[in-house]
Symmetry: C2
Subunit: 458 residues, 2 copies
C-alpha cells in the first residue's frame, strides 16, 4: 500500500509547488503504483503530473487510473493532449475508455484518434461478451511461412502488439487454423514451417458473442496465455490476454458474491472507501425492502396461528432457532450449487442428481439437528408450565420433528432455486441467500405450527 | 462438456475390448479434455488407456486428473511406469503429487525420480505459501550477456522450461536484479546487453513464505505472466506462472465464498457430483450445530420477556421481519467489508473510516425500513385487539424504532466482525454470514423487547 505511505509527503511537496520532485518519484514507479498514488491526489494536481511523464508512460498511467478520474481528466486536458494519450492505449483499453467518456468528449476526440474503426468495432460488442474484453492487437501469420520469416515479421510488426507470446496461424480468408507460442518459435529449427510447430488440438477459440463466464472457463481449462476470439465463420477478430482474464475473474467473483448477499448493481471499479455512502445505500436497499415486505408473510402466518402461540408460548422460544437453522442450511446448499454451476461442474439438467444428493445430506443434517433440539427442549424447559395434559417430551418431539423437516425442506429449496434460475438462463447468484432465508422462514413457520397443532392438539 | 457426450459411446467400445479406438480418440484431445473424459471411466480402464499414450502425453493427462484418481492409479501402476510419468511432470506438479501420495508409494518411487532434491524442497513449503505454488523451472541469465547469447541459451536450455516467456536476470550470487520478456528479446538488437532491456521498476518479486493472497495481489496489480519467488536474501528460487495464479484465484474465491456461508474445510478439487454426501455433511454440520446452540440464547431472551410477549402477541408477528432484516443488513455490510479486505482496498487500521461510512449507510437504510415497518403495522393490524389504553400508533412507533436500531446495530456488527478477524490475523471470511445472522438475532430480540417495554409500558 505504497499510496498511503507517501501521499502526505507528496501533498506537502505539491503545496510548495515542487512538481518536478514528485514527477521524478512517480516516474520510477510501475504505472499501476503511480496511478494508485495519483488517484489519492486532487484532480487538478493529477493533470500537470501526468503531463510531466513521457508520452508512453502518461498513457500507461492514465490507463490504470479509476474510471472516475479518467472521466474528470478527459474534460481538463486539451484536445490534442487527450488524443495523444488515447493513441498510446491498446485498442481494448481505448474502447473501454470511449464507453465511459461523455458523448461530447468522445465526439470531440474520436475523429482525431488513430485507429477509430477498430475502436468503434470493439465498442460495439455488448458489455460482458468476449468481444468487449478482447484486443485487436495480435500477430497472425500464414501457416506456410518459415520460423525464420516469422521471427523477421515479429521483429518488424511486434513492437506495438499487446501480446506477442502467441502467434496465430490463419488461412488466406483469415480463418484461424492453429497457433504456436513465441517460445516454440524461438526454440524451433529456423527453416521449419510454422504449421509444423502448431498443435491443432490446442487451438481453442471462442465466439465474440460468448459470455465472460465462457472466456474464464476456456482459459482456465486450457491454461492459455491468450484466447483467440473469432466470428461465426471462424475469422480471427482479436485475442483476450491472461491479465484481462484475471481481472474478469475477480470482477465476476465479486459480483457473484455481492449478488448472492442481495447487493444489486455492477461492482464499481473504485475502492470501498471511495464509493459515496448514498450509492452503497442504493445498491443495498432494493432487496432489503423487497424481503422486508415478503417477510411480512411470516407475520401473517403467526397471526393465523395466534391461538396456538398464546396457548403454548414455549413454541415462540424455539422460533428463532428454527428460522436461523433453516436459513443457514438453505444458504449452504444454495452456495454449493451456485459455485458448482459457476465452475460448470453441474448444469440445470442435473436437477434430479443434485436434489438426490442434497436430500441425503439434508437427512443427515436433519437427524443431527433434531436430536440436538430434542435434548435442548427437554433439558432447558424443565420448569415451564404446560397447558393441561401436555408432557414436555411431546413438545420436544414436535419441535424436533418440525426442525428436521425444516432442515430438509430448506436444503432442497436452497438447491432448487439457483438451478431454476440457471434453467431460465438467469445468473444463479441472483437467488440471493437472504431471499432463501426469507422463503424458508415462511415455509418453516408454517411447518412448525402445523406440526405443533397436529401432534399437540392445540 | 465433451465428457458427458462421449462417455456412453466410449464405455460401449471399452466393454467390447476396443481400447485402440478409444486411445486414438483421446489422443486427439487436449490433455485437459482427455482427463475429463477419463475421470468418468472406471479406474481399471484408465490405466491401460493412459499406457496407450506416448510418455509426454501420458504425463500431461495424468497431471490433469483429479487427485483421487491420481492416488488410485499410482497404486495400480508398476514402479517404473509411475516413475516415468512423474519424470514427465513439471517440478511444481511433482511436488503437489508427492503431497497427496500415500507414504508407502512415495517411499517406493521417490528415490528413482530424476530431480528428487527439487521436489523435496518444493514439498517442504507449507500449503498456501508462494513457495508451495511455484515451479523451479525457469530461465535465469547473467544481466551482462547479449541478446544473441540469450537466444542461443534459450534454444539450448528452454525446451524443458514451463515458462520461457520471462527471462530473469541475476547477479553472480543468483540474486534477482531484473527481468525481460521473451518478446523484448526477440524484438531487440542482437548485440544489446540484456540489462539494457530490463525495466528495473517492473521487477516485482515475492518471498517464498508469502501467502497465496499476496501472490494473487501482485500478479493482478502488475499484470505479470510469471511472478519470481525469492528467498530472504533475494536469491531467485522459482516462479509462479499465470495459469497457476488463475487456479489459485478460483480456489481462493470458492473457499472464501463457502467459508462465508459457514461451510468449513478445504474446497475439494473434484466436482460437486463426485463428492460423497457424507463428506459434504461433515463440511456443513459443524457451524450449524454451533449456531443452533448459540441460537438458543434467542430462546432464553424470549423466555425472559415472556410476559411482554403474552400481553402483546402482536409483537411476535413482527419478530421474523426484524430478525431477517437484521440478518440481511448485517450480512450485506460483512460481505462488502470481507471483499474490500480480500482486494486489499482496506486494512484493519481503517476501522473508524469503515464504521463511519457504514453508520451513514445504516442511518439511510434504517430510516427507509423503519418507515416501511411503521406503515405496515398501521395498515395491517387495524383489527387487532390491544390491551387496555394502548393505541396501534404507539405499537407501530415502537416496532419501527426497534427496527431502525436493529438495522444500525446489525450493519455495524457486520462490518466490525470481519475487521476484528483481520486484526487478529484470521481470514475475515471466517466470520460467516450465518454467524452474523445469529448474533444480530440475539441483539435484535433484546433491543426489540427492551424498546417495547420502555415505550409501551408492558
Amino acid at each position: 500500500m505504497i499510496d498511503q505511505l507517501v501521499t502526505p509527503d507528496l501533498e506537502e511537496l505539491l503545496e510548495k509547488g515542487d512538481f518536478a520532485t514528485v514527477i521524478k518519484f512517480l516516474d520510477e514507479l510501475h504505472p499501476a503504483e503511480a496511478a494508485e498514488v495519483l488517484s489519492n491526489l486532487p484532480i487538478e494536481h493529477i493533470k500537470p503530473l501526468l503531463l510531466g511523464f513521457d508520452e508512453q508512460k502518461r498513457a500507461d498511467v492514465f490507463c490504470e487510473l479509476p474510471n472516475r478520474s479518467q472521466i474528470e481528466l478527459s474534460s481538463l486536458f486539451e484536445k490534442q493532449e487527450l488524443v495523444a494519450i488515447i493513441n498510446g492505449l491498446s485498442p481494448d483499453d481505448q474502447a473501454d475508455l470511449f464507453k465511459i467518456l461523455p458523448t461530447e468528449t468522445s465526439d470531440r476526440v474520436l475523429p482525431e484518434v488513430e485507429n477509430r474503426a477498430a475502436i468503434e468495432t470493439l465498442a460495439s460488442y455488448p458489455e460482458g461478451t468476449a468481444g468487449s474484453i478482447m484486443t485487436t492487437e495480435f500477430l497472425a501469420f500464414p501457416a506456410t511461412i518459415t520460423v525464420k520469416e516469422a521471427i523477421q515479421r515479429i521483429r518488424r510488426e511486434g513492437a506495438n502488439k499487446e501480446s506477442i507470446y502467441t502467434i496465430f496461424l490463419v488461412d488466406p480468408q483469415k480463418r484461424l487454423i492453429g497457433l504456436c507460442s513465441l517460445g516454440d518459435i524461438v526454440l524451433a529449427d529456423p527453416e521449419a514451417q510454422l504449421c509444423e510447430l502448431a498443435e491443432p488440438e490446442q487451438t481453442t477459440s471462442i465466439k465474440a458473442s460468448a459470455t465472460r463466464e465462457e472466456v474464464v472457463y476456456q482459459v482456465k481449462r486450457f491454461d492459455l496465455v491468450a484466447l483467440p476470439v473469432v466470428d461465426d465463420s471462424g475469422r480471427l477478430l482479436g485475442i483476450i490476454t491472461h491479465d484481462d482474464v484475471i481481472d474478469v475473474i475477480e470482477q465476476e467473483r465479486t459480483e457473484d458474491f455481492e449478488r448472492f448477499m442481495a447487493i444489486t448493481g455492477k461492482h464499481e471499479d473504485v475502492s470501498y472507501l471511495k464509493i459515496p455512502a448514498w450509492r452503497q445505500f442504493l445498491h443495498r436497499v432494493p432487496w432489503l425492502i423487497i424481503l422486508a415486505v415478503v417477510g411480512l408473510v411470516s407475520g401473517a402466518i403467526l397471526q393465523h396461528f395466534e391461538s396456538a402461540l398464546v396457548n403454548l408460548v414455549i413454541l415462540a422460544f424455539y422460533m428463532p432457532m428454527l428460522a436461523d437453522t433453516g436459513g443457514n442450511t438453505g444458504s449452504q446448499s444454495a452456495t454449493v450449487v451456485v459455485r458448482a454451476l459457476a465452475l460448470k461442474e453441474i448444469q440445470p439438467k442435473h436437477v434430479f442428481k443434485v436434489l438426490w444428493k442434497e436430500l441425503k445430506i439434508a437427512l443427515m443434517l436433519g437427524a443431527a439437528l433434531s436430536l440436538l433440539a430434542f435434548m435442548r427442549v427437554l433439558l432447558g424447559a424443565s420448569g415451564a408450565a404446560l397447558p393441561g395434559g401436555l408432557h414436555i417430551e411431546q413438545v420436544a418431539f414436535a419441535i424436533s420433528v418440525a426442525l428436521g423437516l425444516q432442515v430438509i425442506s430448506a436444503t432442497i429449496i436452497g438447491a432448487l432455486l439457483p438451478l431454476l434460475a440457471a434453467a431460465c438462463k438467469l445468473d444463479p447468484a441472483l437467488i440471493a441467500s437472504p431471499a432463501i432465508t426469507t422463503v424458508v422462514d415462511i415455509t418453516g413457520l408454517f411447518l412448525y405450527f402445523s406440526i405443533a397443532r397436529a401432534l399437540l392438539y392445540i
